[in-house]
């Protein structure tokens, strides 16, 4: 029998959604407070300064550090989550990069430019999502490390010297640009603009995907779910 199209498929558990919300709020906060430092004369920075008032600059630094601490806390929690919960371990297993992902990417690109008429079937996590996830892991580590150096500059100065500080600053800056652009171009496209989910993939709030979305984005996973269902 064909399952009804109204059926919902769990994409993110409540725990995962909370992790995601922590990540997204701290990330956006860090982007705003971070680039607020780099572009003090930008119109949106001026707006914020006008609202916050005289001590806006000092507040910016404090908020940036608080957000960073929360993000690091969420990251540490995530490490515990993927080690100590069954769903977490499954998550990392599904997220792990393999050769198939690279093949998928080339197949999909072929499909996109019209060299092939078959769309490759993606599992629970496509190469698109894997890129995103591992980029976040990489970014958090790099930004956390360099950020800590810059935060505790008086402690690190005698160890790494001014040149070390310059390098930490440069990495923190470029990595921030890379991460922000990635989220904007990559993540936001697939969540908001992507015609399959437009205007927004609500899974990060509801936790569920529709069957239609499953068919479009994760047909392989859908097959696995249905085959396991029929097996039962």
């Amino acid at each position: 029998m064909k399952p009804s199209s109204g059926k919902k498929y769990l994409r993110m558990s409540l725990n995962e959604r909370i992790q995601h919300i922590l990540l997204l709020t701290t990330f956006i906060t860090l982007v705003i407070t971070g680039f607020g430092l780099l572009y003090p004369e930008a119109f949106w920075v001026k707006w914020i300064v006008a609202i916050v008032g005289k001590n806006a600059f000092e507040a910016r630094g404090v908020v940036h550090r608080i957000a960073a601490v929360i993000m690091v806390f969420a990251s540490v929690y995530h490490i515990f989550y993927i080690i100590f919960t069954k769903r977490g371990r499954r998550f990392v297993f599904d997220m792990w990069f393999n050769l198939q992902d690279i093949k998928d990417m080339f197949l999909y690109l072929k499909y996109l430019i019209g060299l092939s008429k078959d769309k490759p079937k993606f599992g629970r996590f496509s190469y698109i999502e894997k890129m995103e996830y591992w980029a976040v892991i990489w970014g958090t580590v790099v930004m956390g490390a360099t950020g800590a150096v810059l935060w505790f500059e008086n402690e690190f100065l005698p160890i790494i010297g001014m040149e070390g500080m310059y390098i930490a600053t440069a990495i923190h800056l470029y990595e921030a640009v890379l991460a922000s652009l990635s989220i904007l171009v990559w993540h936001f496209y697939f969540i908001f603009i992507n015609p399959d989910v437009f205007p927004m993939n609500k899974a990060w709030m509801t936790g569920f995907l529709t069957r239609e979305q499953m068919e479009h984005e994760h047909p392989l996973e859908l097959e696995q779910i249905e085959s396991s269902n029929t097996n039962e």
């Binding site: 430092l37 003090p40 001590n55 690109l109 010297g161 040149e163 310059y166 697939f190 015609p195």
Partner: protein, 621 residues
């Protein structure tokens, strides 16, 4: 026979001699008669009563005998006296000197009705020669006015009454009108001067003062102060004679009393009084003083330095350029009511400043003579200096404190106190900003200004503004903004012309602005380091100078004030990375890596998603 005749003549001659000697020997008999008189009259208490008055009948015998009349008998003068009767001659009408002395009195003489012995004495008659020397006149002429003659300069120089009033029996009265002519006989120069002065010129009114009006009749005043207080004031402070408030009025003259010329005194003598400025005999009125250099020449007698400086000033020059529109000492200092600058500092300094501003503040003069500087003066009205002055702080800088009070030179003049070379010392003068001046002295900016002909380096005014100086915490002060100092330094240190001319490091401003310190300041940080935090503010020196805050020895302290635990090694890396960044290979490669990574990654993502979007839109419809 001949002999007998001779003997007879001789004999008769001897007899004559004997006879004559006998006759003449009868004089002591007469003298004896005078002695008889003195028996009674040498009594000092001898008196008689006549018309109810007690008259002394005492005659001092020694004085009488020593007098010219000492040889004469009492009866020679006291005609018709009977010694047996008392009184001796009740009908006596006095002594008639003309019996012996054939002197006719001059009917025009003032002394026509005066008895001879009133002047010549009665029993102590003195000869004419000695008489002239005595001060006999004063026994009768004992009024205050005449007695003051004894203190006069004429008396001291043995010029006696007769010099003016004539001598002998022709003593005359002198009318006021005549007096001037008499004075002129000796004082011709003064007489001519008076006639050329303002006192003669206005003589038509009949109130013109003549010699005696100022010098007195008998007292012959030569004391300047006495003449001024008694004579000048008498007329010129009289509101009836000089009414109104105009120049020359009594009110106008009275202002002198408040003036510093009057109040500053040495041994009771005012610093300057009427005659010091107006002259003594050749008295000049305000019109004469106001002619070209008239007032200046008058003031220069005492105020040499000030007037000389003033003559070189723009204001002083103006007199020669346009005599019709003079600008003189009195225009600022006032005329009679001249006030000292230091007497009432609070009042006069603000007044003085407002006086300058009266002409200069509405930009009238600025736009006419120095276009483009109009704002300077108006700025001063909002400056900290002027505000403090208004609040009553006499130490706050006024126009003259910086421009000089009389020389009044602007910054373009190398001798001016506000010229680039002198301005810092001027700001540091009188303990005004002495501490900052000492810091600034020897700084790289100061050295450049003092050694180069035309330096680009800033002096005090280039950073703080000239007229519109504001306090450090003033909201209007651009330096009070977090990024204010950086922007100020950037004005010069990012100027291509100044960098090229002075061989300054390039790009330090943009590099600083992109550093954390720079970004923080641009973002409004209250405590991030700006240029001054490291380089100093007034004491900026090159890093090679041991006194420099960025000298190797001082770096740990300078950086350490914000970053404790800093060591020399830590901060030896150049701060401004413009040139050195490219030399640090690690940093360079990290930058290249990231730029490549960003372009590649994001480029791929954009491309990927565009294709994805197109494909999905196509397959959907």
């Amino acid at each position: 026979m001949q002999i007998n005749k001779l003997i007879a003549i001789l004999y008769s001659f001897v007899v004559l001699i004997i006879f004559v000697s006998v006759v003449t020997s009868s004089v002591p008999v007469k003298a004896k008669y005078s002695d008889d008189c003195l028996v009674c009259h040498e009594d000092k208490d001898l008196t008689m009563e006549k018309n109810g008055k007690k008259i002394s009948l005492y005659v001092n015998p020694s004085v009488y005998k020593a007098s010219v009349h000492g040889g004469a008998d009492c009866k020679d003068c006291h005609v018709g006296y009977n010694p047996e009767e008392l009184p001796h001659n009740p009908k006596s009408s006095g002594v008639n000197c003309n019996e012996c002395h054939d002197i006719k009195k001059n009917p025009s003489s003032a002394h026509n009705n005066v008895k001879c012995y009133t002047c010549h004495g009665d029993h102590n008659v003195i000869p004419a020669k000695e008489f002239a020397k005595s001060d006999n006149c004063f026994t009768c002429h004992n009024t205050k006015s005449v007695s003051s003659f004894k203190q006069s300069v004429h008396f001291r120089k043995n010029i006696s009454c007769d010099k003016c009033h004539k001598s002998g029996h022709d003593v005359i009265k002198i009318s006021k009108k005549e007096s001037t002519r008499l004075c002129a006989q000796c004082h011709n120069k003064a007489f001519t001067e008076v006639n050329n002065g303002v006192h003669k010129q206005s003589s038509g009114k009949g109130k013109t003062p003549i010699c005696v009006d100022c010098h007195g009749y008998h007292s012959i005043n030569t004391n300047k102060l006495t003449i001024e207080t008694q004579s000048c004031y008498k007329c010129h402070l009289n509101e009836k004679l000089f009414p109104g408030k105009e120049k020359g009025s009594a009110d106008f003259v009275a202002e002198y009393e408040k003036s510093v010329h009057n109040s500053v005194r040495k041994n009771g003598i005012p610093a300057a009084s009427c005659t010091d400025c107006h002259g003594d005999h050749l008295i000049k009125g305000s019109k004469d003083l106001q002619t070209k250099d008239g007032i200046l020449e008058s003031c220069i007698r005492c105020h040499e330095k000030a007037v000389k400086e003033f003559k070189m000033s723009k204001h002083g020059n103006n007199i020669e350029k346009s005599p019709g529109n003079p600008f003189e000492c009195t225009d600022c200092h006032g005329e009679h009511g001249i006030l000292a600058v230091k007497l009432d500092t609070k009042l006069s300094k603000l007044m003085q400043t407002d006086m300058c501003l009266e002409c200069h503040k509405d930009s009238k003069f600025q736009s006419k003579y120095k276009p483009g500087t109009e704002l300077h003066i108006n700025d001063y009205l909002n400056s900290a200096h002027y505000k403090k002055l208004k609040e009553g702080n006499p130490n706050a800088a006024s126009c003259t404190d910086c421009h000089g009070s009389h020389s009044m030179l602007n910054a373009l003049d190398p001798n001016s106190p506000v010229s680039p070379k002198n301005i810092s010392a001027t700001c540091g003068q009188n303990n005004c900003h002495i501490k900052i001046y000492n810091e600034y002295k020897g700084s790289i900016h100061d050295v450049s200004i003092q050694t180069k002909e035309k330096s680009d380096a800033p002096s005090c005014v280039n950073c703080h503004g000239s007229h519109g100086l504001l306090k450090k915490d003033d909201q209007m002060n651009p330096l009070a903004k977090p990024n204010g100092v950086v922007q100020l330094c950037a004005d010069c240190h990012s100027s291509v012309r100044i960098i090229e001319n002075n061989n300054l490091p390039k790009g330090i401003v943009s590099d600083f602005n992109n550093s954390f310190h720079g970004l923080a300041l641009r973002g409004g940080s209250q405590d991030a380091a700006d240029c001054g935090s490291c380089h100093g503010v007034h004491n900026i020196r090159p890093s090679s100078d041991p006194l420099s805050t960025i000298h190797d020895d001082n770096l740990p302290q300078t950086c350490g004030s914000c970053h404790p635990g800093a060591t020399l090694a830590t901060f030896k890396t150049p701060i401004h990375l413009v040139e050195t960044a490219k030399e640090n290979p690690l940093l360079k490669w990290i930058e290249i890596f990231y730029i490549f990574l960003i372009i590649a990654t994001i480029g791929f993502m954009v491309l990927h998603n565009i294709l994805d979007l197109i494909k999905k839109l196509r397959t959907k419809h």
